[in-house]
Every structure is written in structure tokens, then in C-alpha cells.
């Protein structure tokens, strides 16, 4: 349900970035960690409802799920989401839809243990939600801006 807040965040950020310039945003590409299990349907519905009367009026939201890479800082091993799927499933069945990593992927080390050594000392690459790309039309030309 907080997908509405996520859409809100994206819209505010793009409007702030456009900074009153006379542009039309065509598309926004949002990168979200796959294990946050954001609901793309709701996200797009929220985006389309809230974008009205802004530079985003005609913009489309594209959601790209990023696969996390985990690295245990205790034993040094790397592992994928698949290897901790059972752990994530058990957190999801405890909490339901609004499970902790759904809001805050950075909570992962609290709930996930290294499948090799059992440590919670886990580094996570690409755990943050990011705006990766914005497609804009300015004076008739369309260009794509990549974000860092």
C-alpha cells in the first residue's frame, strides 16, 4: 500500500529536478530491489493518478526490479536471493504484505543470515530505490537522461 508513497516520492523528485523548465517527461525508469516485492500495478495506478497537471502529465512509469547481490563480511562468501529465499518467505509469512523489507530493503541483515556461516554481517549491493532514467521532450526533441 505504501506504493502510493513511492509514486509520490518519484513524482516529487522529478518535478524538483525539472525545476520549472518547459519540458515534458515521457518516461521515468525506477529501479527497485526485487525482494521489496513492490506491487507494480498499484505503483503505476498511483503514479498515473498523482502525475496530473505536472511535467509528468504524459509520463509513463517503468519499474525495473534489481536483483540484490549479498556478500557475507564474516566468511567472505557471496550469495544470491535464491539462496535465502526460504528465509525471506518465512519473514513474509510472519508479516504478510507489509513485511519489513518491503518498506526498507536495508533491513535485510536483521532478518537474513548468511547461508554458509549463519552470520548477520551481510553487505547488500543495490538495496536502494533509485530513479535510473528519465526520458524528456524539450522543444520537440526527445532525449534520455541517465541518473547516477
Amino acid at each position: 500500500m505504501h506504493e502510493w508513497s513511492v509514486a509520490d516520492a518519484v513524482i516529487r523528485t522529478v518535478i524538483d529536478w525539472a525545476d520549472g523548465k518547459k519540458i515534458k517527461v515521457r518516461k521515468v525508469v525506477l529501479g527497485v530491489p526485487s525482494f521489496s516485492f513492490l506491487d507494480v500495478e498499484i505503483l503505476k495506478e498511483a503514479f498515473d493518478t498523482m502525475k496530473k497537471d505536472s511535467v509528468l502529465d504524459e509520463a509513463e512509469l517503468e519499474v525495473k526490479f534489481k536483483e540484490p547481490k549479498f556478500k557475507c563480511k564474516n566468511c567472505g562468501k557471496e550469495f544470491s536471493l535464491n539462496e535465502v529465499k526460504d528465509q525471506i518467505d518465512s519473514v513474509r509469512s510472519e508479516f504478510g504484505e507489509e513485511y519489513p523489507m518491503h518498506f526498507m530493503p536495508a533491513l535485510a541483515p536483521s532478518f537474513i543470515k548468511c547461508p554458509y556461516c549463519g552470520s548477520h554481517d551481510i553487505a547488500l549491493e543495490s538495496q536502494d530505490m533509485t530513479i535510473d532514467e528519465i526520458q524528456v521532450e524539450e522543444n520537440g526533441t526527445v532525449k534520455t537522461v541517465s541518473q547516477g
Binding site: 502510493w4 509520490d8 518519484v10 508479516f95 507489509e98 519489513p100 538495496q127 530505490m129
Partner: protein, 229 residues
């Protein structure tokens, strides 16, 4: 671009924001921020001490989960205080984290919260870390620095005060556990102090889990303090 940062900023813009802080632990930040929120009324109290989550323990909200609506995380409502805590997301699980993960959790907590009061109070963890840096990024807060008259505490809090002054902020200082009323006689068990003192009230312990019912001397004193803000 960090969309959560933008949202967090927008949620606090135009609000009066207080940050109850102290580099030292155990000086009473959580008790004081709770009583300040209750005294002021119509306030959103956000618990940024993500490891200890004391606010939900003081108000008896442990094990309860936040509802989530289109407006975001709906605060718990106690009297006219709206409370947001990570405990409402993780329930009674411990939150053990590498330091690098803390700031994004704090930022999300603010960004996703439904804030509809004009005043927002943050309860901060001890230390000099992300909680301060995150708050500086997203708001123009008024620092309320808590210390005790104890020498260690004063020295540690001095770091924080120096930092805040360098950043152009003049903190309001509260000296907690400053004195105790021993049958009419004022005793200062931790020595002399300067500034606005709050007494030791042993009865506070009886109100852990229902701090909203506390109406004792510490709250009385805080009413006086609020007039100086």
C-alpha cells in the same frame, strides 16, 4: 536521484521540527521527547533510535504494527500524539545492522510516514552518526540537547554542542537527573550544573508502558521549558 530523500524533505517542510539529542546514552532523551510531545500535544513523535525503539516501550505499543494507507505509514495515536517507530514495522524483532544501512532506514521512516501535525519531535539515538546527518539533510531542526550533571556526560555532550554551533545551530540544553527532592530538601547527587534542570522522579519507572498517564514533576518542569522554546 534519491526519491526518498525528496519525500522526507517535503514531509517536514513548513513544520516546526525538534530533535531531542545527546551524544551520551541513558540521559533521558526518550523519556523527555515523549513528555515533550505529550505536553505540547498535536505532535508527531518519530523514534529514530532504530536499535532500541524505546518510544514504543514507553507508550506500551510493543508488538503492534503500523497500518499502511495511501498516505503512508499511519502513526499510532496516543492522546493527541502521533507516534512512528520502527517497532511498528519489525514488531519485536531485534534490529541488528551494519552502520551503513542505518541512514536509509531513518530516511525511509520519515519519507513513508503520514505526518499531519505542525510540530514534529525526533527522539535520537546516542552517538554522533547518521541520525544527525540525515536530519540535517531533510530539515531545519531545533536541537534540544539532553545531558546529566555527571562529568562524563557533560564532556561527551560538549562534542555535540560544538558540532551544532559549527553548523550554525544554537541548542537548547536540558540537564536531566539534576536533583532529587528528599522530603523537602533538594539533593544534587551528580553535582552542580548550569542551565535548565529536570528533577529525578523515581515514580517515572511506574509509568514505563503508559508514559501518557504520567503527570508528575518532570512534566511540570517541561511545561516551563517549552515556554522558552
Amino acid at each position: 536521484m534519491e526519491p526518498l530523500r525528496q519525500l522526507a524533505k517535503d514531509k517536514l517542510s513548513g513544520k516546526k521540527v525538534y530533535a531531542v539529542m545527546s551524544a551520551k546514552g541513558g540521559v533521558g532523551k526518550s523519556v523527555i521527547s515523549s513528555l515533550l510531545a505529550l505536553t505540547m500535544g498535536r505532535t508527531t513523535l518519530i523514534d529514530l533510535d532504530i536499535h532500541t525503539m524505546a518510544i514504543s516501550k514507553l507508550f506500551g505499543l510493543e508488538g503492534m504494527l503500523h497500518e499502511v494507507t495511501k498516505n503512508g505509514i499511519e502513526p499510532f495515536e496516543v492522546k493527541t500524539v502521533k507516534i512512528v517507530s520502527l517497532s511498528g514495522i519489525v514488531k519485536d524483532n531485534y534490529v541488528l545492522l551494519p552502520g551503513g544501512n542505518q541512514s536509509s532506514i531513518m530516511e525511509s521512516l520519515v519519507a513513508y510516514s503520514h505526518i499531519d501535525t505542525k510540530t514534529v519531535i525526533f527522539d535520537l539515538p546516542p552517538g554522533l552518526g547518521d541520525e544527525i546527518l540525515v536530519l540535517e539533510r531533510i530539515s531545519n531542526f531545533t536541537p534540544i540537547v539532553v545531558t546529566t550533571p555527571s562529568k562524563v556526560s557533560k564532556k561527551v555532550v560538549d562534542y555535540l554542542i560544538r558540532y551544532l554551533r559549527e553548523r550554525g545551530k544554537e541548542p537548547k540544553v536540558l540537564v536531566n537527573l539534576a536533583y532529587i527532592d528528599c522530603g523537602g530538601k533538594v539533593v544534587k547527587p551528580f553535582g552542580e550544573y548550569d542551565g535548565f534542570g529536570l528533577p529525578i522522579d523515581p515514580s517515572i519507572e511506574d509509568y514505563i508502558g503508559r508514559i501518557q498517564d504520567y503527570e508528575g514533576i518532570v512534566k511540570e518542569k517541561l511545561k516551563e521549558f517549552i515556554l522558552s522554546l
